[in-house]
C-alpha cells in the first residue's frame, strides 16, 4: 500500500471517529482515502475550508471526547500552529500528521525533514511539547497510528507523526495490527458532552488570566512532559555494539543511512546507526552514554541541520559531531553518506578523541 493510504487505513482500524483536513500535496491521499473508505466505515470526514478550520475542528471534536485526527504538509502545518498551541494547553488528545515537503515558503512537493524544529521545538507559541513519532517505512506509517492515539489518550496530549512525501507516496507491504479500539479508548469525564445535574460544567479553555493560575498550568504541562521523557523514549540501534563511529538519522534519512553504514562497514569501518523513533522525547540518554566510546558522530538529515543540534546537546562535547544534509527536497544517496563518513573518519584518525 501507499504510505499515506496505509496511515489512513490504520486510523480507521484504530477507531478514529473523525478526520478534518484540507488537500495539500503530498498528503491529499489521506483525506481522499478517508473520504471514501472512512465514511463507508462510519467515520466523520470533513474537507474543511482551510487548515486553520481543520485544526480548530480537531480541537472541538477532541474537547467533545472524540478520537480525532488531521493531516497536512509543511505549509499547512504552519497554518495549524495556533490551533496546536491551544490543543496542547487544553490538554486535548489528537493525532496530527505532517507529511513534510521542501521549504521554506511554498517550496517544493518533494520530501524533506525541514520541519523538525517546528515539530519538536514548538512551532506554535508558548511552552508546550508534542509527542513526535518518526516512521521510516510504510509499515511504521501504519503501526505508529495506533501508538499515537494511545499515547495521546494516555497523556491527554497531541501526538504528531512526522513523516515526509517519499514515505507518503512509496508502496510497500504492510500488515495491520490486531487492535480493538474498545480495549484502548478511555473514558473522558472531562469532555463537553452536556452537563448533567450531577456535576459542574466542563469547560475546555486555554485562557488563564491570573498569572499564578497560568504558571500552575505550565507546571502541570512540564511535569507531564518530564514523565513522557522518562517513559516513552523509543529508538533503534543498528550494528552499534562495536561501533567507533555512529550515524544518527531519523525517518527516510535513516533508511538511506543504514545502507550508507553498510557501505562503510564493507570498507572496514566500525560504524553503527542510531535511529530515533520518538523525536520528542529524544533519546538523549542513550546518545550521551554512547558518546564516551565514540570517535565521532555523523548526523544525516534532509534539511540544513536541525536534529544535529539535539545530538550536540545530548553528547555535551564528548565527541565531535558532524552533519551531512541535503535541502530542497533532494534525497541524499547511501554513497553520499558513506563518503561523508569516510571524510569524518579520515579526519578523526588524525585527531583521535581520548576516552573519558
Amino acid at each position: 500500500m501507499k504510505g499515506n493510504e496505509a496511515l489512513a487505513e490504520a486510523a480507521i482500524r484504530a477507531g478514529c471517529q473523525a478526520y478534518f483536513g484540507y488537500p495539500i500535496t503530498p498528503q491529499s491521499e489521506v483525506l481522499e482515502y478517508l473520504a471514501n473508505e472512512g465514511r463507508k466505515r462510519g467515520m466523520i470526514v470533513l474537507q474543511a475550508e482551510s487548515e486553520v478550520a481543520s485544526i480548530n475542528m480537531v480541537y472541538g471534536a477532541a474537547g467533545a471526547g472524540a478520537r480525532v485526527m488531521t493531516s497536512s504538509s509543511s505549509p499547512g502545518i504552519s497554518l495549524m500552529m495556533e490551533g496546536i498551541s491551544y490543543i496542547a494547553c487544553a490538554e486535548l488528545p489528537c493525532l496530527l500528521v505532517n507529511v513534510s515537503r521542501g521549504g521554506p515558503g511554498l517550496g517544493t512537493i518533494q520530501p524533506s525533514q525541514g520541519d523538525y524544529f517546528q515539530a519538536v521545538k514548538g512551532g506554535g507559541h508558548g511552552d508546550y511539547r508534542l509527542i513526535v513519532l518518526a516512521p521510516s517505512s510504510v509499515q511504521e506509517m501504519a503501526d505508529f497510528v495506533y501508538d499515537a492515539f494511545d499515547l495521546a489518550d494516555k497523556y491527554r496530549n497531541p501526538v504528531m507523526i512526522l513523516t515526509d512525501g517519499a514515505l507518503g507516496q512509496m508502496m510497500e507491504k504492510v500488515a495491520f495490527r490486531e487492535y480493538d479500539p474498545k480495549d484502548h479508548m478511555k473514558a473522558k469525564p472531562w469532555a463537553t458532552t452536556g452537563k448533567p445535574s450531577t456535576r459542574p460544567p466542563n469547560v475546555i479553555t486555554t485562557l488563564h488570566m491570573q498569572p499564578e493560575q497560568m504558571e500552575e498550568v505550565n507546571h502541570r504541562l512540564q511535569a507531564k512532559y518530564a514523565g513522557i521523557q522518562q517513559q516513552e523514549v523509543r529508538y533503534e540501534l543498528l550494528e552499534a555494539e562495536d561501533a567507533e563511529y555512529l550515524v544518527v538519522a531519523y525517518g527516510l534519512a535513516a533508511r538511506i543511512a543504514h545502507r550508507g553504514i553498510q557501505l562503510a562497514r564493507a570498507r572496514g569501518h566500525k560504524v553503527g546507526l542510531l535511529r530515533p523513533i520518538t523525536l520528542f522525547p529524544y533519546p538523549s540518554t542513550v546518545l550521551k552514554s554512547m558518546a564516551k566510546r565514540l570517535q565521532g558522530i555523523l548526523v544525516v538529515e534532509m534539511n540544513a541541520g536541525q536534529m544535529v543540534e539535539d545530538v550536540r546537546l545530548a553528547v555535551e562535547g564528548r565527541t565531535p559531531v558532524q552533519f551531512h544534509g541535503r535541502m530542497g527536497g533532494i534525497i541524499p544517496s547511501p554513497d553520499e553518506v558513506a563518503e561523508a563518513l569516510e571524510r569524518m573518519i579520515t579526519t578523526s584518525v588524525a585527531h583521535p578523541v581520548e576516552a573519558d
Partner: protein, 261 residues
C-alpha cells in the same frame, strides 16, 4: 443620574404574589465583568433563560469566542469550549458532528465572526451545519480597547479611525448577515436587539425558535443582535441605546432575513 428629585425607596409587599421573573439558575453566580448597560449581559441572560425554560441545560454545549465575551464560560452554567479568535463556528461544527443530539451554539462578536473568522462563518453556514450562531454586532472591538470592526459605520470614530471611518481607511461596513442570508444551507437568519423590553421579548422568541429548528435539523440558525458598547462608543447606556436606534438600525435593520420553508 437622570432624575433630579429623588423619592423615598419603597419596599413592596409581595406577600401572596406570584414570582413572575427571577434570575435564571443556568446563569452562574459570578458578577458580569461587562460594562454597565452592555448588550452582552442581556443576551447572556436571555440565552440562559431560554435554555432553562426549554430544559436543555444538560444537552447544550456552547462555544465562546475571543472578545469581551471570552469569559462567557464564567457565566453560562453549561458545558463550554473556548475557541481561538474567529474559529468558534469551526469548533461548534465539530462538536455538533460528534454530538448530533446535543444543542450546540457559537457566540461571537463582530471581529470574531466577520473579520478573522469570515471564512469559517461563511463555510459553516454554507455547509448548513445544524448549529445556532449568535452574532453580537456592536460595530467596535470592545475587549482590545475600541478599534474599528468590520461593521463599524462610516464616519464612526474608533481608536483606529480617530478621524472617523472612511472608505480609504476601512472600506464599507460589512453587512455579513445579508451575505449569510443568501446561502441555501441556512435555515433562519434574523436580526434582533435588546435595547428595550419588546426587543428583548423578540430576541427570546428568536432564540427559542432557533433551538426548535436545531431539534428539527433544519440547518444553520444565525441570530444577529445589534447591540450597544457604552464604553467603546463613549456614551451612557441610555445614550448608547438611543444612538443605536438612530444610527445602527438604518444600516442594520431588525427583522427576519430568512425563515425556514
Amino acid at each position: 443620574m437622570t432624575q433630579e428629585i429623588v423619592e423615598e425607596m419603597i419596599t413592596p409587599d409581595v406577600e401572596g404574589m406570584e414570582c413572575v421573573y427571577h434570575r435564571p439558575e443556568t446563569l452562574l453566580d459570578a458578577r458580569f465583568h461587562y460594562c454597565p448597560g452592555c448588550g452582552h449581559s442581556v443576551v447572556h441572560r436571555v440565552l440562559m433563560e431560554v435554555i432553562q425554560e426549554l430544559a436543555i441545560t444538560d444537552k447544550t454545549v456552547g462555544v465562546a469566542p475571543v472578545g469581551c465575551s471570552v469569559f462567557a464560560d464564567r457565566y453560562m452554567g453549561i458545558d463550554m469550549q473556548g475557541a481561538a479568535h474567529g474559529r468558534a463556528s469551526a469548533v461548534a461544527t465539530a462538536v455538533k458532528r460528534i454530538l448530533p443530539d446535543r444543542y450546540v451554539f457559537s457566540y461571537q462578536g463582530d471581529g470574531d465572526l466577520a473579520a478573522i473568522g469570515t471564512a469559517e462563518t461563511i463555510h459553516t453556514c454554507n455547509r448548513g451545519e445544524n448549529i445556532l450562531i449568535i452574532f453580537i454586532n456592536n460595530a467596535i472591538y470592545g475587549m482590545t480597547g475600541g478599534q474599528m470592526a468590520p461593521t463599524t459605520l462610516l464616519g464612526m470614530k474608533t481608536s483606529t479611525t480617530p478621524a472617523g471611518r472612511t472608505l480609504e481607511t476601512g472600506g464599507h461596513p460589512l453587512k455579513i448577515t445579508e451575505l449569510i442570508a443568501q446561502l441555501p444551507g441556512v435555515a433562519y437568519v434574523t436580526r434582533q436587539s435588546v435595547h428595550n423590553p419588546n426587543a428583548v421579548r423578540q430576541l427570546k422568541k428568536a432564540l427559542t425558535k432557533s433551538f426548535q429548528y436545531q431539534k428539527e435539523i433544519r440547518g444553520t440558525c444565525f441570530v444577529e443582535v445589534v447591540s450597544n458598547c457604552p464604553s467603546g462608543w463613549k456614551m451612557t447606556p441610555l445614550q448608547a441605546n438611543a444612538w443605536l436606534v438612530e444610527n445602527m438600525f438604518p444600516l442594520y435593520p431588525p427583522g427576519d432575513l430568512r425563515t425556514p420553508q
